[in-house]
């Protein structure tokens, strides 16, 4: 068939476009030569220099802590926001609330970053580690809310209703019934929040202060000075970590999905 050959060509070209630059980056992180265009043989030299670059390692540590904290806070707040949007029907200011959830997704980062910085200055807060955490929590919670919301919308409420009918308090119902059922979405939301925090240059640049240089800020300042293979090395490690994380998460989701389908089958078969 003609159209299927067309589709295959489109997909091949599309994925080649998406992946070739990343593959090149990874390959050249193992290049012994400093020049991008010369292949000087396989070497782990850049990984060694990266490891001994104290500034880079400090920045990586700051980024990891910011990411863990803001992703966790963002997941808690985002899950609450999703519950509020899906479950609590109308409440005063719902329009504004859903607007506040969607707007940060498309808001240019320079605006979000600058406005948050001005807030911190107005509040008289010293900028540094915690201001970056708060800023990241604010925009990542919106992504979590969207991911969890889509799971809650396709969620079978009868189990929850049964628990409530049997006198289980709402908070307990949430932790015993709802949370386990939406857990894959919550984990996916957390991972998304973590990578977004790991990735952010613009908002962190505005809201950071002395002693809280994150990895993207460090990478950016080095890239401005010119391409250094050390950056290729740390980028490769980041790509590797993220890829492993995504694969584990998707396998987990798949397993959870299979188990859920299996459980539902069993439940239906059991004579009542």
């Amino acid at each position: 068939m003609k159209s299927s050959r067309f589709d295959a060509t489109v997909l091949t070209l599309g994925f080649a476009f998406l992946y070739i630059p990343i593959v090149i980056l990874i390959v050249y992180s193992f290049n012994a030569s400093r020049l991008v265009t010369v292949w000087g043989g396989f070497s782990l030299h850049w990984y060694q220099t990266m490891w001994s670059n104290q500034g880079l390692m400090d920045a990586a540590w700051v980024t990891a802590r910011v990411g863990l904290l803001s992703a966790t806070l963002g997941t808690v707040l985002g899950t609450m926001a999703a519950m509020a949007l899906v479950r609590y029907g109308r409440f005063p200011g719902r329009m504004l609330f859903s607007g506040m959830i969607y707007a940060p997704l498309v808001m240019p980062e320079v605006i979000t970053g600058l406005s948050m910085l001005l807030l911190f200055v107005a509040l008289g807060v010293d900028r540094g580690f915690w201001t970056v955490v708060v800023a990241h929590t604010t925009f990542t919670m919106c992504y979590v809310a969207i991911v969890v919301q889509s799971r809650l919308l396709t969620f079978d409420r009868s189990l929850e209703e049964a628990a409530l009918d049997l006198g289980c308090p709402p908070v307990k119902t949430f932790f015993r019934i709802t949370l386990p059922l939406i857990f894959p979405a919550v984990i996916a939301g957390w991972m998304l929040a973590f990578t977004l925090s790991l990735d952010d240059l613009v908002i962190a640049s505005f809201t950071t202060g002395p002693g809280a240089t994150t990895l993207p800020i460090k990478i950016y300042s080095q890239v401005r000075l010119g391409v250094t293979p050390e950056i290729n090395a740390i980028c490769t490690i980041l790509i590797g970590l993220v890829t492993i994380g995504v694969i584990i998460a998707s396998l987990n989701t798949k397993r959870a999905e299979l188990r859920r389908v299996h459980d539902e089958h069993m439940a239906l078969r059991t004579p009542s």
Partner: protein
């Protein structure tokens, strides 16, 4: 039943319910909405050589009349008078519009091919589109520097193939073309996924019916497939257009010195010239320009949810 359940829930979990709504609500009001008022306020103040480098406009409630008299639109007058800023806004909108068109032209065939693939490999294809998005934006833009540099890999490839002489070099790096390549590359997943979501839901029997009635495939595409995918087209276009207009990283790393984009201008005013009030005014006008696209996006999202 549902109604009884709801009122019941309100009685029992009233406090918990208020808490669940109020916490994220207040967080967003404090850290997302309130800053916009501050940015607006500071855009109306004067630059001062101090830290923070602006004179406070509003201090205490007793100073309301002072507040009104002190407000001045000097920064806005400055922005509209200086053709550099007007040009930067127009050029940002132009680059964002062209990029969005390019993204649609490239993203649509990919999304369509994904939606037409057999159901068993579709999740893998979606995964493959999402995966690059998970790797750092900065890293992906950075990867293009090595490719597009005059002595980079693209030059090397073209020389090896014989398209270019050994002395020629690709002159793309630090031009608008490089910006377009960087933007299309970085935003492609954001365009493909909403398009795919719309196309995948489509009822194939409509196309079969058109085919049976003798409608040629291309006409069927324009009469059936494309109109039905419009929500995806709008969502994808807005998700790309709005942030691209304020993009900083791509024009800064791939664009030339003469590239005008408002995100870069704002960054320079803030970090370079330390003119916070002017940077705030730049942000406020950018926000005003983007209000309509943002509202279209919000409406679209509400319909989906």
């Amino acid at each position: 039943m549902a109604v009884a359940q709801d009122s019941d829930g309100q009685g029992k979990g009233g406090l918990g319910r208020v808490f669940v709504v109020a916490l994220p609500y207040l967080w967003l009001v404090l850290f997302f909405v309130a800053p916009f008022f501050i940015i607006f306020k500071i855009s109306l103040s004067d630059t001062a050589i101090a830290l923070p480098p602006y004179t406070p406009v509003f201090e205490g409630f007793g100073a309301i009349q002072d507040f009104v008299s002190q407000l001045d639109i000097e920064n806005y007058v400055f922005l509209t008078d200086d053709p550099l800023y007007v040009k930067a806004y127009l050029s940002s909108l132009r680059i964002a519009a062209i990029s969005t068109m390019l993204l649609l032209l490239i993203g649509y065939p990919i999304a369509l091919a994904m939606a037409r693939a057999s159901a068993s490999i579709r999740p893998t294809l979606v995964m493959m589109v999402i995966l690059p998005f998970w790797t750092s934006f900065l890293i992906r833009v950075y990867a293009w520097i090595g490719i597009l540099k005059p002595d980079g890999l693209l030059t090397l490839l073209l020389q090896a193939v014989g398209v270019m002489g050994p002395e020629d070099q690709v002159q793309i790096f630090r031009t608008d073309t490089a910006i377009f390549i960087g933007i299309v590359y970085s935003y492609l997943p954001f365009m493909v996924l909403p398009l795919y979501a719309a196309l995948e839901k489509m009822d194939n029997t409509l196309l079969e019916a058109a085919n049976d009635l003798g409608c040629p495939p291309l006409k069927a595409f324009w009469r059936i497939t494309f109109p039905l995918s419009l929500p995806g087209v709008i969502a994808g276009s807005m998700i790309c257009f709005i942030p691209i207009t304020g993009e900083f990283v791509i024009p800064d790393l791939l664009g030339g010195a003469d590239t005008l984009m408002i995100g870069k201008t704002l960054w320079t005013e803030f970090f370079g010239n330390r003119d916070w009030p002017l940077a705030s005014a730049v942000a406020v006008i950018l926000l005003i320009l983007l209000v309509i696209p943002i509202m279209i996006f919000q409406n679209q999202q509400k319909k989906v949810a």
